[in-house]
């Protein structure tokens, strides 16, 4: 058995750091930091955990600082203070970044959409509103469930669907979109887009309550959001299937908003000869880091601080019931109608008025005397 060598001790610092930069699993970095005092000090003083986070998620470059909210010891060390205070600061940072690294890479993955915010256009509101895209089925009862854009002569006109995620600090791994196939029209056309692209970012207003101001069904002013990430374009198939678009690398969405751009139209409606894009279902899969990490955006450019709560646990994000840290102005809907906080008031009213809306209950034929139009399953022009 050959005699090993403590390379961290014998190589120069830059080279040793270079070696550790090849570790891309936070478990490895933490274990390296538990080998000996020297190794631990090396990992801490060279911010190896922080570097790992930045490497895996370049979106973190806008991070100004991390703050441990349970830390009563006070402000981070000022420049020029004694070595021991600086060390304590580095030690604290190491702990936070280790936890962040784990959360970013290994916490539980699940559905990340909290609510549908707006669509760039909607043909028939609210029957064909963006809220339908959160319903996995393309029909509920006898009624088709999909979002439809307005018609266009020019197939190059794009559309945008904007969603809010379950937290302001989410890693997104995969986005799925199912184009809608109008099964009730001749030849069952599929109103897909040529390609899709995704953007992520934050709202321009810093106040959470302003999210109420984004009116349903209206055009979102693009200047309401700052998109800090734009994905490459992914071609979309003209197929009635839930198409998965895997991002080249998982992306950290800071600010909690995601936009799907639908680029290029391929299908005209026979009746009016206009191009439409229709989507049956949208799904975003990822990891929410709240309530352990909460992002607070400082300015429109996206610079933010991270508040770390070591007492909290990484939980599986669920849009709806038991997510105490979610502060949204949206109304909670009765569970027998929907499972998620996705429906706006208009749709609830529709339901209560007796229109056949999107609901998970059995449709009874006897009910259709007063509302003939809505009940006939047809593509509303």
């Amino acid at each position: 058995m050959e005699l090993g060598k403590d390379f961290l001790d014998s190589l120069d610092i830059d080279t040793s750091v270079k070696v550790l930069m090849y570790l891309d699993d936070p478990c490895d970095v933490v274990r390296v930091g538990s080998v000996s005092h020297f190794w631990r000090d090396f990992v801490i003083s060279n911010s190896v955990c922080k570097q790992l986070c930045l490497r895996l998620f370049p979106q973190l470059s806008s991070l100004v600082r991390v703050v441990d909210i349970t830390d009563r010891a006070g402000m981070p060390a000022e420049a020029g203070s004694s070595r021991s205070i600086e060390w304590e600061h580095e030690d604290r940072e190491h702990k936070i970044y280790a936890s962040l690294a784990w959360g970013l890479t290994s916490s539980e993955v699940s559905d990340c959409i909290s609510e549908a915010i707006s669509a760039s256009s909607t043909d028939n509101y609210p029957e064909e509103s963006i809220h339908n895209t959160l319903e996995p089925m393309d029909r509920v009862g006898r009624r088709a469930s999909y979002w439809s854009s307005s018609g266009q002569r020019n197939p190059a006109v794009p559309e945008k669907l904007t969603y809010k995620l379950v937290s302001d600090f989410c890693v997104v791994t995969e986005i799925s979109v199912q184009p809608f196939q109008a099964f009730f029209q001749a030849y069952s056309p599929i109103y897909s887009a040529k390609a899709v692209r995704f953007r992520m970012g934050h709202q321009l207003f810093s106040d959470d309550s302003d999210s109420d101001q984004i009116m349903e069904g209206t055009q979102p002013a693009d200047n309401q959001f700052v998109w800090t990430y734009t994905s490459p374009e992914f071609p979309m198939a003209q197929e009635n299937s839930l198409q998965k678009f895997k991002l080249p690398q998982p992306v950290l969405c800071i600010g909690g908003f995601l936009q799907i751009e639908l680029l290029g139209r391929v299908q005209t409606q026979e009746m009016d000869g206009l191009f439409y894009i229709c989507v049956a279902h949208v799904q975003v899969v990822g990891r929410s880091l709240s309530p352990v990490f909460v992002a607070e955006i400082l300015d429109p450019s996206g610079k933010f601080i991270l508040k770390y709560n070591p007492k909290a646990k990484f939980s599986a994000p669920c849009a709806g019931e038991d997510h105490p840290d979610q502060v949204h102005g949206t109304p909670t809907v009765a569970p027998e109608i929907v499972h998620r906080q996705v429906r706006g008031w208009e749709q609830i009213l529709n339901l209560l008025r007796g229109n056949l809306g999107v609901g998970a209950y059995d449709f009874d034929d006897e009910h259709h005397e007063s509302d003939d139009e809505e009940l006939a399953v047809q593509f509303i022009p």
Binding site: E2, L3, G4, K5, D6, F7, S10, L11, D12, T15, K18, V19, L20, M21, Y22, L23, D25, P26, C27, D28, V30, R31, V32, G33, S34, V35, S36, H37, F38, W39, R40, K95, A98, S99, W102, S106
Partner: protein, 157 residues
């Protein structure tokens, strides 16, 4: 100097071993490349920090990488990577001498490869295994070790 197409450079290791090397191969090292550019008289270039055994190994790497044409061909890339993997089957001592040499001679590809190899040796290992591999003494008290484990329990599961 001869008017042959292929020019030769003479390198001398720290233990006085002489190596005649193609100029292209030697120029994989930025350090040697600059040295040649500064002084083209054809004298022997001393490599004081690197012994003969290590220098031979360095030259082997440079030769292979110069000879292999850059290509987008998947198979060619895989083949080169496989060669690199075989090449890296060396004892720890040679590995660290190689890192130091690649660093001094400024050969990016070799430095990346050797550092990656060390990192690969660490991946997935427990602290005990890492200590055993690199002959490191555990100077933590049991209490300190316990505290560290608790701090990031997920890393030790």
């Amino acid at each position: 100097m001869s008017t042959e197409e292929r020019r030769i450079v003479v390198l001398r290791s720290s233990d006085e071993e002489i190596f005649e090397v193609d100029i292209d191969v030697a120029s994989e090292s930025q350090t040697i490349k600059h040295s040649i550019e500064d002084d083209d008289s054809g004298r022997v270039i001393p490599v004081p920090n690197v012994d003969g055994h290590t220098l031979a190994k360095v030259i082997e790497y440079c030769k292979k990488h110069v000879e292999t044409p850059r290509s987008d061909d998947r198979d060619a890339q895989d083949a080169l990577r496989a060669w690199d993997t075989e090449y890296m089957k060396i004892d720890q001592n040679t590995l660290f001498e190689l890192i130091l040499a690649a660093n001094y001679l400024n050969i990016k590809g070799l430095l990346d490869l050797t550092c990656q190899t060390v990192a690969d040796m660490i991946k997935g290992k427990s602290p005990e295994e890492i200590r055993a591999m690199f002959n490191i003494k555990n100077d933590f008290t049991p209490q300190e070790e316990e505290d560290i484990r608790k701090e990031n329990q997920w890393a030790f599961e």
